[in-house]
């Protein structure tokens, strides 16, 4: 990647210098008034960067993303502390609609397609906030179809009846249709065939480099996430326990062992993993 972005990354971790496109400051999230989930998460996404958000199940990745895109309220959750700034401006009390207009869009975990709409209609709903007129929308639609030829085949069938992976593609394509500047990707690789996973991350890279779209992606597939990301945060039940540039993280032994499965003696077969290895926690 270019020097410029690399520089951005380094500063991202150390605040106050050149403002990143997204800055999350020590936020705390509570569900149902009682369940405390995020206990002060801070992170930053540099302009044109790809930042990975890693962590076990229940660490709070999805919650973090929803806190940013303001989808929490719909889950009876609320941000009780901290701030979220986009381009240096607080976005906590904007509606998701405003955010999308400003170029922040989330791809929700677990698809959430509009079951009764056809695949194509699903994609078109993504263009709801667009104003450049039909032509531009049409072009992007074609773009999405290039990315996911499979969708073109199924374009006229109801999304509710498409396969898991197809739905995942629809969800991502739908987000792309909003012409975003910052995409919050929640588990993009989930349920996708290997080569498709590669493709998706290739798409991410393309958008990032060609169109300068920034990404914050919550991903379980650490290997590939770190391969494409410039910077990474690791979440453990509601706290950031580790952060750093992708390469550095990849070199970190703990990460190697617990997230990449590369123990000293190299990758070992799932068959041989000894049972229920107690996790080493950073707290």
């Amino acid at each position: 990647m270019s020097q410029a972005t690399l520089h951005a990354v380094q500063t991202a971790s150390s605040p106050a210098v050149a403002e990143p496109i997204l800055r999350v400051n020590n936020i705390e999230v509570i569900y149902d008034h009682v369940i405390l989930v995020l206990k002060g998460v801070s992170l930053a996404v540099p302009e044109g960067g790809i930042v990975a958000l890693l962590g076990a199940n229940g660490a709070g990745k999805t919650t973090t993303l929803k806190a940013i895109s303001n989808l929490l309220r719909a889950e009876r959750g609320e941000v009780t502390k901290g701030t979220v700034d986009y381009n240096g401006r607080s976005i906590q009390n904007l509606t998701p609609n405003d955010l999308v207009k400003m170029g922040v869009v989330q791809v929700m975990e677990g698809r959430h397609c509009f079951g009764h709409l056809t695949v194509e209609e699903n994609l078109l709903t993504g263009a709801y906030t667009r104003t450049e007129g039909a032509a531009a929308v049409k072009r992007d639609l074609e773009m999405v179809y290039d990315y996911f030829p499979r969708l073109k085949v199924r374009r006229s069938s109801q999304a509710g009846y498409t396969s898991g992976g197809e739905q995942q593609m629809v969800a991502i394509g739908r987000a792309l249709m909003t012409k975003p500047k910052l995409i919050l990707l929640d588990e993009p690789s989930m349920g996708l065939a290997p080569q498709l996973v590669e493709e998706i991350f290739e798409i991410v890279r393309q958008l990032n480099q060609k169109e300068g779209v920034s990404f914050l992606l919550a991903e379980q597939n650490t290997t590939i996430a770190l391969k494409y990301a410039t910077f990474g945060y690791i979440l453990e039940n509601g706290r950031v326990v580790m952060e750093g540039e992708a390469q550095r993280l990849m070199e970190n032994d703990d990460v190697k062992e617990f997230y990449l499965g590369l123990a000293a003696e190299g990758r070992k077969s799932f068959k041989d993993v000894k049972h229920y290895r107690r996790r080493k926690r950073w707290l």
């Binding site: 962590g55 076990a56 229940g58 989930m190 065939a193 290997p194 379980q220 799932f270 993993v273």
Partner: protein, 278 residues
């Protein structure tokens, strides 16, 4: 529990060296299944066998028809052509609950837990088919009902320990993170003590560590109870490591069928599915 496994293993010739049940004869075979929805041909003339005690993986690109295949096996989809032969007898248009009662349990790709219920209750429902006490007995929690409840509760607790979800026993599953939900779902399937266990992408959305645990569970189940396992998974690492045989589907067709190594070597499979990465 591995200890018991070992003791089970020792001596008897029904077991392999590492204490697994020896792979036996064909327990379920699908023959020339064709399934289509309106225009979409989800499956065309698919045949393969599932052998007792084996771990069979089904892989293939998205939309290849893997989940549909499982749906056919447990009677949720009714193929236009072909038949499913379970334990030597052909199954005519059967309803899903019959499959369940015949010992075929499964988990789902898009988690299908009972959102309003606690993890424990979800797992208990897995044993509903075995509970017999009548309405009145239940209404006044008389002997039989009480006895049943406690017995089955104990079994479910075993599973809960096994899957390490004691902590969230009483939590409504809706609130659990994705990964744990997948585990609870597995628990629900196990509770039925099935002969055949169909798993649809059990490790989707898990990080490595959790995948390792999940593999462990699957292997242990197979070892412990000799449960036959049919598994859909996109993580080649997992598939190649833990499965005895692999069936590869590609847009409704069967591409290949063999041991992991054979499949890995198969050029069509590489082109259609594995891609450069592997």
């Amino acid at each position: 529990m591995s200890s018991t496994a070992v003791s089970a293993a020792s001596g008897s010739d029904a077991f392999t060296a590492d204490g697994r049940h020896k792979i036996g004869g064909v327990i379920l075979s699908v023959q020339n299944i064709s399934l289509s929805f309106g225009g979409v041909r989800a499956l065309t003339n698919i045949s393969f066998d599932v052998r007792q005690h084996e771990i069979l993986a089904i892989i293939g690109p998205n939309g290849a028809g893997k989940s549909s295949m499982l749906n056919v096996i447990n009677g949720f989809y009714h193929p236009q052509e072909g038949k499913v032969i379970h334990k030597g007898q052909e199954r005519k248009r059967m309803r899903p609950f019959m499959a369940a009662r015949a010992g075929i349990a499964r988990t789902f790709q898009n988690i299908a837990l009972f959102k309003g219920m606690s993890a424990l209750d979800n797992i208990m429902t897995g044993r509903n088919t075995m509970m017999k006490s009548g309405v009145l007995a239940q209404a006044f929690y008389l002997g039989r009902a009480r006895k049943e409840e406690t017995e089955h509760r104990e079994f479910c607790e075993k599973i809960i320990d096994f899957l390490e979800i004691e902590a969230v026993r009483k939590t409504p599953v809706g609130r659990l993170p994705y990964g744990l939900q997948k585990r609870v779902e597995l628990g629900r399937a196990l509770a039925a003590q099935p002969e055949i266990l169909l798993l649809d992408e059990p490790m989707a959305g898990m990080n490595l560590e959790e995948k390792e645990d999940m593999c462990r569970f699957i292997l242990d189940v197979n070892k412990e109870f000799g449960t036959t396992i049919v598994l859909i998974e996109h993580d080649m690492g997992v598939v190649m490591d833990i499965s005895d045989r692999v069936v590869v589907l590609d847009y409704g067709r069967k591409l290949a069928d063999g041991t992991p190594d054979e499949v890995r070597a198969n050029q069509d499979v590489i082109d259609a599915y594995l891609g450069g990465g592997h």
